[in-house]
Symmetry: C2
Subunit: 344 residues, 2 copies
DNA sequence: GGTCCGTGAGACATCGATGTCAGGTAATTC
DNA sequence: GAATTACCTGACATCGATGTCTCACGGACC
């Protein structure tokens, strides 16, 4: 049994054990330069025996470059981000990059700390789903320092960098239109805080569709708040207990969908209002009725962002790219419940 | 506009800019030792101006130690693991550790590559949800090399290291017992491949309960297979179309739950069989009936593992610990559907 | 026979931050 | 008044891997 305190063997140790110079060990490990067959064999043996593993810090200090990219998102535990994260990871691993990732928890300070930490660990590039109020001057400094960045899900105003975003506004408009076409005039919209980019984009799409259809806006039907809080029940109640309550509900993200569906199951008016959610989620098809959604493709978003970033990191300096991913309406039943003005 | 190619400023650059030695800059950055107020001010200014960021590689090369831990799990995109992952991350961040994480995708080779990569990047410790067939000799070598490890969700046979596991067997027995108590005698069990530790543990729990109740085993009611495949429909069909079909279904994990619930919604016999799933999932309470589950606590698992690992990393060498987390049965309706032998 | 190239291997400096040691001055203590 | 302490700073070596340079040998070629 060896002591657990034993330090890891270095190239010098291997060199000493096999009677060659450290540089020769380096040649063996990296497979560059000339090494005779016997020497190769001797060094390999010593490596195995000593359990030598190259110290990545020393190597990267010398090389200045590192096969590492960082991913900063809001919360890995959110299915949208966890799927995105997995996609990024797969692309990175396939190209022998290591992925650092961390959750900003929507906290600009934590987010900044994470980015600093990644950057000082030599991340060649970052994929960022920026928290609201991210300090753009700070990011710009990083960019200037040579750290490539791709923003996903949300942009940062005033930063020139690649983005991979969903068509939030168009998707929300399409969803709202879908409800209007089925005879709904009073459609409630529950979105995240107005400070969140995707939330306001989706709200804008919702309004676009109402305007196009010539339907009057009613601000009392719009709730913009983070769906975590216990306060959501009160917010929903307020909307549902209007004299003229909504006949359809549009959930602006999947966390709101869950909260709203839970509410509807327990307190919902019968018959149920029509329901449509932005972003698909597991079991949306198993609920009864199935939940109609505007689906995004987080895996595609992650994959595209990672590929884009890795191209940047390896020197691609084409002009900044802005990729917009189409959303897809998946009708499953809840969004097809007819409203009072249904003509069909 | 500065050139994006510009290299990041080093301590020497800062030192030159502020007219002091690199060592003094180091003192300022780390806040150790004596530095006069003016010097401090001058150095701070230079740091801001040059956008200096300490090179973590150089630091850690010198220090030999790194505030980094690694997390290896099966798939971040799985809600169980993504919640666990987030919990680990929070503990790590709170103690100023960086978290490396990657998905093994149940592939021992990929898993090994990840561990090697983490280890050579100086991870002080690892939290591992081991893939089936993980090479234990390899892990033992890492352990001997001074890398602390905590295993979560599954152990590795023959490795002496801390583990944080759920009470899979007890939980499954309790669940099965719950169904038996409601009059079920023919209970189907759908679990992951028999090579997966948790799957066989849960199967054992299921069998324990049947044996205790004096119910004859029927192997035709047991399916052990990864729930990914399209083949699941055929597997379920086979069970459902027995002459004497099950009156209750036990899903061995949440992926099986989803697959089975989807099947039941479309092809399920009416009235529905009783249903019970291992591991809770979002919307389980919104489905109708609500899904009765044996809940695990992935956040607690992650938190405990991280805390344990960080204690180990900072020198705690108490004997190996094996933490077992209790599971909790949450009755929501689907598991309370009465069977033919219900006496109540 | 001399030049050149292919092959094989080591000495040494270097990447950037920091621990150690060796100063130096000013203030405090006996 | 001498000795000790607190305060402030820099020179230098070091962590481990690797790029550069140098050297040495043997065969090929004109």
């Amino acid at each position: 049994m060896t002591s657990p305190q034993r330090a890891r063997a270095t190239m010098s140790d291997v060199a000493a054990a096999s009677g060659v110079s450290p540089k020769t060990v380096s040649r063996v490990v990296n497979g560059v330069g000339y090494v005779s067959a016997e020497t190769l064999e001797a060094v390999r043996t010593a490596i195995d025996q000593l359990g030598f593993r190259r110290n990545e810090f020393a190597r990267q200090l010398r090389q200045g470059t590192t096969a590492t990219i960082g991913l900063v998102l809001e919360d890995v535990a959110d299915p949208f981000y966890s799927v995105l994260s997995r996609a990024v990871e797969d692309v990175a691993l396939a190209q022998d990059y290591l992925l650092l990732s961390a959750s900003s928890a929507e906290d600009p300070t934590r987010s900044r700390r994470i980015i600093e930490s990644f950057s000082s660990r030599g991340a060649a590039g970052l994929i960022i789903a920026p928290a609201t109020d991210t300090d753009s001057a700070f990011l710009r400094a990083e960019l200037d320092a040579g750290c490539s960045m791709v923003f996903v899900d949300r942009p940062v105003p005033g930063i020139r960098a690649d983005t991979v975003l969903a068509d939030n506004r168009g998707g929300a408009a399409a969803g709202t239109q879908h409800l209007i076409a089925r005879g709904h005039r009073r459609i409630a919209f529950f979105g995240d805080s107005a400070s969140v980019y995707t939330a306001t984009e989706r709200l804008a799409g919702y309004r676009d569709a109402l305007t196009t259809a010539g339907i009057e806006h009613d601000d009392r039907l719009v709730v913009m708040a983070p769906p975590h809080a216990d306060a959501t029940a009160a917010l929903i109640d307020t909307v549902q207990k209007l004299d003229d309550p909504p006949t359809a509900i549009f959930a602006g993200n999947n966390r709101w969908s869950v909260v709203l569906l839970r509410y509807l199951k327990e307190h919902g008016p019968r018959p149920l209002p029509a329901f449509l959610g932005f972003d698909d989620f597991e079991l949306s098809d198993v609920l009864d009725p199935g939940i109609t959604v505007i689906a995004q493709d987080p895996a595609a978003m992650g994959q595209l962002a990672a590929e884009l970033l890795l191209r940047r990191v390896s020197g691609d300096d084409r002009p900044t790219q802005h990729i917009q991913l189409e959303t897809r309406l998946i009708a499953r039943g809840s969004g097809e419940i007819a409203g009072p003005f249904n003509s069909s």
